[in-house]
C-alpha cells in the first residue's frame, strides 16, 4: 500500500511542481504585492502599505463603474451565448443532411485570431466607410457612430463577443447532445411526449453538465474582456465600456504600478472564484 502511494506520488510530483511554479507561486506573489506599493521601475522603494491599494481601488468611481460594466457584460454574454449556442446545437444535431458542413462553417468566427476579428469589426462599424452604415444609408437611414455613442458602444462590443464565442458554446453543447442516448427519446415518444417536453425533460437534464461548463468557461473568459475594448473604444464613451482588466491596465500596468494592479487582479480572481464555486462544488464536492 505504502509502495503504491509512493509510486503515485512519484508520478504526480512533476505535474505538482509545474503547477506550483506556474500557478501557486505567481498567485501568492500577486496577493503579496497587492499589499505593497511596488513600482516595477523602482523595486528598491517597495514598502508594505497594508490595505491602502484596496481602499483606494474601492473608493475610485472609475473602478466601480468598470466592475459594474464587467458584471453586466458577463451576464449578458453568458446568457445570450449559452442560449444561442444551445439552439444552434439542437438545430445542427437534428439536421439530417449538411451536418458536417454547417458544423465547420459555424466554427469560423472562433478560429479567427481575436485581434483580427476585432479589426474586421472596426472596419465594418466605421462611421465613415463601414459597410453597416453604408447599408443604412442605402435605406435612407442616418449613419450611426456605433462605437462613439453611449447607447450603442457597449452593445456593439457584446455583439462582437456573441458572434465570436457562440460557436464555442455550440461546440461544447453539440458534443453533449451527441452523448444523449436515443432510446430515451424513443421511450418518451411511446409515452406520448411532444418535442418541447422531450427537450425539457430529456435533453436539458442530460446536457446540464455541458451547460454548466459553458456558463463557467464563458463567465471566466468574459470577465477578462480586454482586447475588444482596448482596440475599439478604450473604455469609452463616458466609461460605458470600461472593464476591470482595462482599468488595471490603465491605472496599474501602464504606469508600472505592480502593487496597485495586483490588488485589482486579486479582486478579479476572487470574483472568478465566486462564480466558479457552484461548478467546483458540483465537480469536486460530491467526489466525482
Amino acid at each position: 500500500m505504502k509502495r503504491n502511494r509512493a509510486f503515485s506520488f512519484a508520478l504526480t510530483a512533476p505535474s505538482m511542481v509545474l503547477l506550483a511554479l506556474l500557478t501557486v507561486f505567481p498567485l501568492a506573489f500577486t496577493v503579496y504585492f497587492s499589499f505593497t506599493n511596488l513600482n516595477m521601475i523602482k523595486p528598491d522603494q517597495m514598502k508594505v502599505v497594508a490595505l491602502k491599494n484596496y481602499v483606494r481601488i474601492f473608493s475610485d468611481p472609475y473602478f466601480l463603474q468598470a466592475l459594474g460594466n464587467t458584471l453586466k457584460f458577463m451576464v449578458c454574454a453568458v446568457v445570450i451565448e449559452t442560449v444561442l449556442g444551445l439552439l444552434i446545437a439542437t438545430f445542427v444535431h437534428n439536421l439530417t443532411r449538411w451536418q458536417k458542413f454547417v458544423r465547420t462553417f459555424l466554427l469560423t468566427p472562433m478560429i479567427l485570431p481575436p485581434v483580427t476579428a476585432v479589426l474586421i469589426w472596426r472596419i465594418m462599424l466605421s462611421n465613415n466607410y463601414g459597410i453597416i452604415n453604408k447599408l443604412l444609408e442605402a435605406f435612407s437611414i442616418q449613419p450611426v457612430a456605433w462605437l462613439n455613442e453611449v447607447r450603442t458602444a457597449f452593445w456593439c462590443i457584446l455583439l462582437i463577443d456573441v458572434w465570436q464565442y457562440t460557436p464555442f458554446a455550440f461546440l461544447l453543447l453539440y458534443a453533449s447532445l451527441q452523448g444523449v442516448a436515443k432510446q430515451q427519446y424513443e421511450a418518451a415518444q411511446i409515452d406520448g411526449a411532444g418535442t418541447v417536453a422531450q427537450f425539457f425533460f430529456i435533453t436539458l437534464p442530460n446536457i446540464s453538465g455541458g451547460i454548466l461548463l459553458v456558463v463557467l468557461m464563458r463567465a471566466i473568459d468574459s470577465i477578462r474582456l480586454f482586447d475588444k475594448v482596448n482596440i475599439l473604444t478604450r473604455g469609452g464613451p463616458a466609461n460605458s465600456t470600461a472593464t476591470i482588466t482595462q482599468y488595471i491596465y490603465n491605472y496599474g500596468v501602464g504606469s508600472f504600478k505592480i502593487g496597485y494592479s495586483s490588488a485589482g487582479s486579486v479582486i478579479m480572481t476572487l470574483i472568478v472564484l465566486l462564480i466558479s464555486a457552484a461548478y467546483l462544488t458540483r465537480t469536486f464536492g460530491t467526489g466525482r
Partner: protein, 403 residues
C-alpha cells in the same frame, strides 16, 4: 577509430572558431517604436555597422509593449537594450527614475541645429536640465482642412482663430456637409484633440506649480466650444477623420501630419493650429508637440558606442536619408533642406509649428492624468455629464492621482 576522433576534434575546433568569431562581434540593441521609425533607422544603420565593425539590432515594438519592455529591462544589472525610443510624455517618468543615461555626463554637447522645443523634451528636468535623450522623430499637431469645401463655401484661407473655425463649421454644416471632425475616442485621442483648444483659450491642466487647473473658466469655454464644434460636425476615429477630410466629406479637423501626408503628397491642406479665441484675442501657442526621442539605457554595457550611434542616427545626414524613408526630421537644416522641401512641402510648416509648440504637462503621472481627463471629456461630449460636472470630476480625479 583514432582517425574519426581526430576528424571530430578538428571539426569541433572549426565550429568553435567560427561561432566564437560571430558571437564576438559586438551588437548594439535598439528598442524602437515599430513602423516608419524602424524603416528610417534601418536605412542608415549599415554605414555605422561598417565603420565600427558592430551589428545594430533594431527591435520594432508597439508603443505599450515598448514601454513595458524598457521598464522590465531597466531592473537588470546589465540591460539587454542599449538604446531605446521614448515617447516624449514618458520622459519625466524615465528621466526621474534613472532609466536613461545622462548624455551630458557622457560628453554629449548640445547641437543647436535641433529645434529647441524638441531638444527641451529630452532634458531632465524638462527644458533646463541635462540632456538624457535626443529628438529622433518630430511631429506637431496641425490644422487640416479641405480646400475644395472651403472654396465651395466661400472661405479663402485657413482660419487663425477658433471663432472663425466655428463660423466655417456652421456654414458647412448648414450646407448639409460635415463642418468639423473631432477625435473624441476616450483616452489619449480626445485629450490630444482637446488640449490645443484649451491652450488657445489660455487654459491648462496644471499651472506652473503643478496645481490642477482643469476646472477653470478657460477650460469651460474651450469644452463648450468643442461640444459646439461637434454639434456642427461628427466624432470620428483617426482613419475616418483622414478619409472624411481628404475626400471632401468634412471641412476641418486637427491631426498629426503623418496621418494625412504619406510620401510626397498632402491629401488635405494644412496650417498651424489657431491660437486665438477670436480675431481680437491674444494669441497663445496651441500646437501640441509629439516627438519620439532616442536615449541610452543607464544599464547599457556599451554606453560609449551607443552614444556614437545616437549621434550618428540623429545627424543631419542620417535624418535626410531617414526622411526619404518615412522619417520626420527634428533638425532645422533638414526641415529646410531645398531637396527635401521640394518633395515634402509641409516641412517648413512643421518647423514653424514646432518652434511655437507646447509640450504635454511634464509629470511622471501623465499617463493616469490623461486617462482620467479623457474619461471626463468623453462624458461631457456624450452628454452623460454637463461641462461643469465633467470638469469638476476631472479636477478631483487628477488631484487624487497627483497626491
Amino acid at each position: 577509430m583514432k582517425k574519426s576522433l581526430v576528424i571530430l576534434l578538428v571539426w569541433a575546433m572549426v565550429f568553435c572558431v567560427v561561432f566564437g568569431a560571430v558571437s564576438a562581434q559586438e551588437t548594439l540593441t535598439v528598442a524602437a517604436r515599430g513602423g516608419s521609425h524602424v524603416d528610417a533607422m534601418n536605412a542608415v544603420k549599415e554605414a555605422f555597422e561598417a565603420e565600427h565593425g558592430v551589428k545594430v539590432e533594431i527591435l520594432g515594438l508597439e508603443s505599450a509593449d515598448l514601454k513595458q519592455k524598457i521598464g522590465l529591462d531597466s531592473i537588470n544589472e546589465v540591460g539587454e537594450l542599449d538604446l531605446v525610443m521614448v515617447d516624449d510624455p514618458w520622459m519625466p517618468e524615465f528621466g526621474e527614475n534613472g532609466i536613461l543615461a545622462n548624455l551630458t555626463e557622457l560628453g554629449y554637447e548640445t547641437d543647436d541645429d535641433f529645434t529647441p522645443n524638441s531638444l527641451a523634451l529630452g532634458r531632465v528636468p524638462y527644458g533646463v536640465g541635462d540632456q538624457y535623450a535626443l529628438p529622433f522623430s518630430g511631429n506637431v499637431i496641425l490644422f487640416f482642412y479641405n480646400k475644395s469645401l472651403f472654396e465651395k463655401y466661400g472661405v479663402s484661407e485657413a482660419p487663425t482663430d477658433w471663432a472663425a473655425v466655428l463660423e466655417i463649421a456652421k456654414k458647412v454644416s448648414e450646407g448639409g456637409e460635415i463642418g468639423y471632425v473631432i477625435r473624441g475616442t476616450q483616452g489619449d485621442p480626445i485629450v490630444a484633440d482637446f488640449l490645443p483648444l484649451l491652450w488657445a483659450f489660455g487654459g491648462g491642466v496644471f499651472d506652473d506649480n503643478f496645481n490642477v487647473t482643469i476646472n477653470s473658466e478657460e477650460a469651460k469655454a474651450a469644452l463648450e466650444l468643442y461640444i459646439e464644434l461637434l454639434a456642427n460636425g461628427v466624432n470620428y476615429e483617426k482613419n475616418d477623420i483622414v478619409a472624411a477630410v481628404s475626400d471632401g466629406k468634412a471641412a476641418m479637423s486637427l491631426g498629426w501630419p503623418s496621418w494625412y501626408i504619406s510620401g510626397e503628397t498632402a491629401s488635405a491642406a494644412y496650417a498651424p493650429i489657431p491660437g486665438k479665441i477670436d480675431a481680437d484675442a491674444e494669441r497663445n501657442n496651441a500646437g501640441m508637440i509629439g516627438n519620439w526621442l532616442l536615449g541610452i539605457t543607464a544599464n547599457s554595457g556599451k554606453k560609449e558606442l551607443a552614444l556614437e550611434f545616437l549621434k550618428f542616427v540623429t545627424s543631419a545626414e542620417s535624418q535626410k536619408t531617414g526622411a526619404l524613408n518615412g522619417g520626420v526630421p527634428t533638425r532645422r537644416s533638414v526641415l529646410t533642406d531645398p531637396e527635401l522641401t521640394e518633395k515634402y512641402a509641409y516641412f517648413p510648416t512643421l518647423l514653424e509649428a514646432t518652434l511655437e509648440s507646447v509640450a504635454r504637462p511634464r509629470t511622471p503621472l501623465w499617463g493616469e492624468v490623461q486617462t482620467a481627463l479623457g474619461a471626463e471629456l468623453s462624458a461631457a461630449i456624450s452628454g452623460v455629464k454637463t461641462v461643469e460636472e465633467a470638469l469638476a470630476v476631472a479636477q478631483s480625479q487628477i488631484e487624487m492621482i497627483m497626491e
